[in-house]
């Protein structure tokens, strides 16, 4: 548009204000508070988690009883049950991001997100983290109560508990970036439920959600150890219950690598997708 001059008199920001951390912290806090409103509802869902825990505890007790052994691949019965408590809590506690983004795009709420001076991926991450913190925290309390009631406290040291907090944060971040990739693909696709389902099943099977990786056939365990799905379930649970013999440094580095790769894909997809966004009209 030739001959047009910029309207002067308004302070146009000189640098990327979307990078200010304070605004993401504000999103995290409001998301945390908002999620508290769902605690009663989530406590009801927790009943399901308690039932699952009970069933698996019985199943593993029978398995250990039948095999007449106190340890399988280095895991005792208490370790396996606490392992399950951890993986189930994380996987069930992670919000259904792809579904929420799908709704936002379908119903046009994304219009509000995009007209604010805050990064879209960062906003969603802060919100996701706030929601996941409450949900996973509550799940761990409930599942931990069942595990502690039948099998005593977790076979963990304070060091492994602290490392588990770090590993859980990494697990949630990786889960977010993988879900965000699916969410951003919705700029091109109409429905992400299929991909979301596949991802959740991959985490369930190859991520070691139900069975620790060392209990897999050796070749499969070695392959799975390098896949991103184990970052979400196996990494934090193994860190808690069986830190001995686990190269935690390498495991965390692998997790960080996958998280950064998915983040890079997210950034790429967002840059491409936002230009072809089709926001539903009013």
């Amino acid at each position: 548009m030739t001959g047009m001059t910029r309207v002067t008199g308004w302070p146009v920001p000189a640098r990327r204000h979307t990078r200010r951390l304070g605004k993401y912290w504000a999103v995290f806090r409001i998301s945390l508070r908002n999620q508290w409103a769902y605690v009663p509802e989530q406590s009801v869902q927790g009943i399901f988690l308690v039932v699952i825990m009970y069933v698996f505890a019985e199943l593993w007790s029978t398995t250990y009883g039948t095999m007449a052994t106190s340890s399988i691949a280095g895991y005792g019965i208490a370790s396996v049950v606490w392992y399950l408590a951890m993986t189930e809590s994380i996987v069930m506690g992670c919000p259904r991001l792809a579904m929420r983004l799908s709704e936002e795009i379908k119903h046009g709420e994304i219009a509000y997100r995009l007209t604010k001076p805050i990064g879209y991926i960062g906003y969603n991450f802060a919100q996701y983290l706030g929601e996941a913190s409450v949900r996973i925290g509550l799940n761990i309390v409930l599942a931990g109560m069942v595990a502690a009631l039948f099998f005593g406290p977790p076979p963990a040291s304070w060091a492994s508990v602290l490392l588990t907090v770090v590993a859980t944060a990494l697990a949630v971040s990786t889960q977010f970036t993988m879900n965000m990739v699916i969410g951003l693909l919705l700029f091109w696709m109409e429905d992400g439920r299929g991909l979301d389902l596949i991802l959740s099943r991959l985490v369930m099977i190859l991520g070691g959600m139900m069975i620790p990786l060392p209990l897999f056939p050796d070749w499969l365990a070695r392959v799975c150890a390098w896949l991103p799905f184990q970052v979400i379930a196996y990494l934090p649970a193994r860190t808690l219950v069986h830190l001995r013999g686990y190269d935690i440094g390498q495991a965390l580095a692998t997790g960080c690598g996958w998280m950064l790769i998915c983040l890079a894909v997210c950034t790429f997809l967002y840059g491409k997708g936002v230009k072809r966004l089709h926001v539903q009209g009013g």
Binding site: M4, T5, K23, R33, A37, Y112, L114, T115, V279, G282
Partner: protein, 359 residues
């Protein structure tokens, strides 16, 4: 005065994937065809772009001066929301150019967002389970408003929008009208230069609509904010906007003062008469009389052929009139009149005039 919004030949088309039509269509079903073919462009001849495109907006040009209140009206699918979304940087245009505050919106969306406010009537930016105060706090952080200034501004808006009793009530417990007041107040927190309102009164009752209109009008006058409004509601446009753009099927039909739109496109007025005694007879060209009961009559008057003041004087002279009211045409009728003007064979008078008018 500098133009605050400049739009030149702005166009938007949406590609419609041919995939499903091509591969999943049952062989015995007819190929899909569009009733309003004018708005759909078949690009199937273009080998690099197989399939069809839907033209949401044909090339449009307009400018908006600072402080103006401008309405963008038209039926569903006319291209109103598409235009607003391009001017706020959410959508990228297919062609043409636009500058808002000197910035190209889709390239400088973040920079622009500090200076514009948006209200989408059918969407919410409030956190559903939390009181509006929390959303105010969040927006204060997102817009980098210094804390002292934020508190001052929030309190000012709370007072102006009368949000005191609502501020600490969870959003889920607020009525739609209360929620909309909060939505608009939140959008004003960062003192935007332009407020884009997309159907702000949709779903609201008459009284709440009027409250919302008054608030927007006051903010336009007191803070000089430019108001760019899309609406289906004719009264929104009449009572808020001095200028109107009429759009249909992606084409701009009219751009001018709201008053000019009224005089040019609809010259029918409705007169309601209530007589003291039964019996009324009036046969004159340009007047259509409808008897509502023994003493009440409705007259639809073509003001180009009949001078309404003379008619009124004549009626008052001949009959004992208990009550009389003259109504302006409704915006819906004006839009219809524009369509009728563009379709020469359809020349009948509008059948429905507005029943009520809230000022």
């Amino acid at each position: 005065m500098a133009a605050i919004i400049e739009v030149r030949q702005l166009t938007k088309t949406f590609r419609q994937s041919p995939g499903r039509d091509r591969f999943l269509q049952l062989p015995w079903r007819k190929k899909r065809s569009y009733a309003n073919g004018a708005a759909k462009v078949d690009l199937s001849a273009d080998e690099t772009h197989p399939g069809t495109t839907k033209v949401a907006l044909y090339p449009v040009d307009f400018q908006v001066e600072a402080g103006e209140t401008i309405a963008f009206i038209g039926p569903n699918g006319a291209g109103k929301s598409t235009t607003i979304k391009m001017l706020t940087g959410i959508l990228h245009p297919t062609g043409g150019d636009a500058r808002v505050l000197g910035l190209r919106p889709w390239e400088k969306r973040v920079e622009l967002s500090y200076h514009i406010g948006t209200v989408f009537g059918q969407k919410s930016q409030l956190w559903y389970h939390l009181p509006p105060r929390d959303t105010f706090d969040l927006m204060g952080s997102i817009y980098d408003i210094p804390k002292d200034e934020y508190r001052r501004r929030r309190d000012e808006l709370v007072e102006r929008f009368d949000l005191g009793p609502l501020l600490n009530t969870p959003v889920r417990k607020l009525s739609l009208g209360e929620r909309m007041r909060c939505e608009i107040a939140v959008s004003f927190l960062h003192r935007p230069r332009i407020l884009f309102l997309d159907e702000p009164t949709i779903g609201l009752d008459v009284v709440v609509k009027q409250t919302i209109r008054n608030l927007i009008r006051d903010l336009n006058r007191q803070e000089g904010v430019t108001v760019f409004l899309t609406s289906h509601d004719a009264t929104d446009v009449e009572s808020l906007c001095r200028r109107v753009l009429v759009i249909n099927q992606g084409r701009l039909l009219f751009d001018g003062p709201t008053s000019q739109l009224l005089t040019r496109f609809l010259h029918y007025k409705e007169m309601h008469l209530q007589l003291q005694t039964p019996g009324f007879e009036l046969a004159r060209e340009g007047i259509e009389v409808q008897q509502l009961d023994n003493v009440r009559f409705k007259l639809v008057v073509d003001v180009l052929r009949v001078e309404i003041d003379k008619l009124l004087a004549d009626i008052l002279h001949r009959y004992a009139v208990k009550d009389v009211s003259v109504m302006e045409p409704a915006m819906e009728d004006i839009i219809r009149a524009i369509y009728l003007e563009q379709t020469p064979r359809a020349t009948q008078a509008p059948t429905a005039l507005r029943e009520e008018r809230v000022l």
